[in-house]
């Protein structure tokens, strides 16, 4: 059988790394990093997810086709998140008429 059997020690190492990274992300949340708090949290979560995909989900040992399939999926996720954020961020680029009532956003009645 060509399937790769990972050693138990590898799984224990990945598990330990995931737990340490969880502690790190909680610790980092209590430190005031300004705008970087969110970035740090997402980088740590992304790294944890990569460890799970690569070792627990055996992506490391899969064919190029399977890896490509994952890459395509992530590409579309980036489009979904990225393009929406670009659209949102660029809303202020075009001149807008002045707001008549600054509080209108919250007046639902």
């Amino acid at each position: 059988m060509s399937d790769h059997v990972s050693p138990i020690s590898l799984y224990i190492t990945i598990f330990t790394a995931l737990m340490v990274l969880t502690a790190l992300t909680v610790f980092a949340a209590f430190v005031d990093l300004g705008q970087f708090n969110f970035l740090v949290a997402m980088l740590v979560a992304g790294f944890k997810a990569s460890l799970v995909v690569w070792y627990f989900m055996h992506m490391k040992y899969q064919s190029h086709l399977t890896k490509l399939a994952l890459a395509v999926g992530l590409f579309f996720l980036v489009i979904l998140l990225g393009e929406t954020m670009v659209d949102y961020a660029s809303k202020g680029f075009t001149p807008m008429p002045p707001r008549v009532n600054p509080d209108s956003e919250f007046q639902s009645h």
Binding site: T22, T25, D32, V52, F56, L80, F106, H109
Partner: protein, 262 residues
């Protein structure tokens, strides 16, 4: 093509009972299953991705409300559940490894342990949800955002929700000066909790489905349906379970750790 067909025909009489007729080899069959499962998981990634986009936009719009509401979640339960779920991913990986190495009883035991950890996660979620109901933090007519702020309790509590278009003049005093009045907080924290219940609820639904899948796989393992040559269902359930774990890896910092400092 004929060169690949020939060996399969030769071994046809002695092939593995799990090998379907439309595949030449077990490896080919496995490859098809793996890529099919990953394509399914990609649809799941984009399914949750839509929720993440909604979360991102509302978080930018009402960051102070998200920070306030996020602080009301109990970090102990969230952290515990993260540890439990990562632990269940380890036991799931061990279950797949046991199937790979032909250890039938070890596979069954690791799967049962994974299901127990999954149930622990859901049990903690029940504690958290009931806490939200007690504190009126469930979006809807009974929602009251008044936890730490006496001023907010007066402005948005039972007195008059909304105060009829007149926002309270004093901003709520939280861990730091907030840009939103209590009346605005009452409305915008509901958006956070709507997303909280949608995202964690759909995640919990995936966990329930995962436990259901695993109970079938455990029974099949017990019956001796799998061996080192054929354990695809075990590995596919594993991929699904790890995916659910990954969703939580992102949900935990997004929901529990919006702004914990100050």
């Amino acid at each position: 093509m004929s060169s690949t067909v020939a060996p399969a025909d030769q071994h046809h009489a002695a092939h593995h009972p799990a090998l379907r007729h439309h595949f030449n080899t077990m490896a080919q069959q496995k490859e098809a299953a793996v890529i099919g499962m990953w394509v399914f998981l990609l649809t799941e990634i984009l399914f949750f991705g839509g929720l993440f986009v909604a979360y991102m936009i509302y978080r930018i719009w009402y960051f102070d409300a998200f920070a306030e509401a996020s602080r009301s979640l109990d970090l102990f339960w969230g952290g515990l559940n993260t540890a439990v779920l990562i632990g269940s991913s380890l036991t799931m990986a061990m279950a797949v490894r046991s199937a790979q190495t032909n250890k039938r009883m070890a596979t069954v035991n690791w799967l049962i342990l994974t299901m127990i950890l999954g149930c622990v996660f859901l049990g903690v979620k029940v504690i958290e949800y009931s806490d939200k109901f007690e504190h009126h933090h469930v979006p809807g007519p009974n929602f009251v955002w008044a936890s730490e702020h006496p001023s907010a309790a007066l402005g948005a509590g039972e007195a008059a929700p909304g105060a009829e278009g007149e926002p309270a003049p004093a901003a709520a005093t939280g861990h730091r000066q907030l840009s939103l009045t209590p009346d605005q907080l009452q409305r915008t924290t509901q958006i956070y909790f709507s997303l909280y219940f949608t995202m964690t609820g759909l995640h919990a639904l995936h966990m329930i489905i995962g436990i259901g899948l695993m109970s079938v796989i455990t029974w099949m393992s017990w019956k001796g349906k799998f061996d080192a040559e054929y354990y695809t269902p075990v590995e596919m359930s594993g991929l699904y379970w790890h995916f659910v774990d990954i969703v939580w890896i992102f949900l935990f910092p997004l929901l529990y750790l919006v702004e914990r400092h100050t």
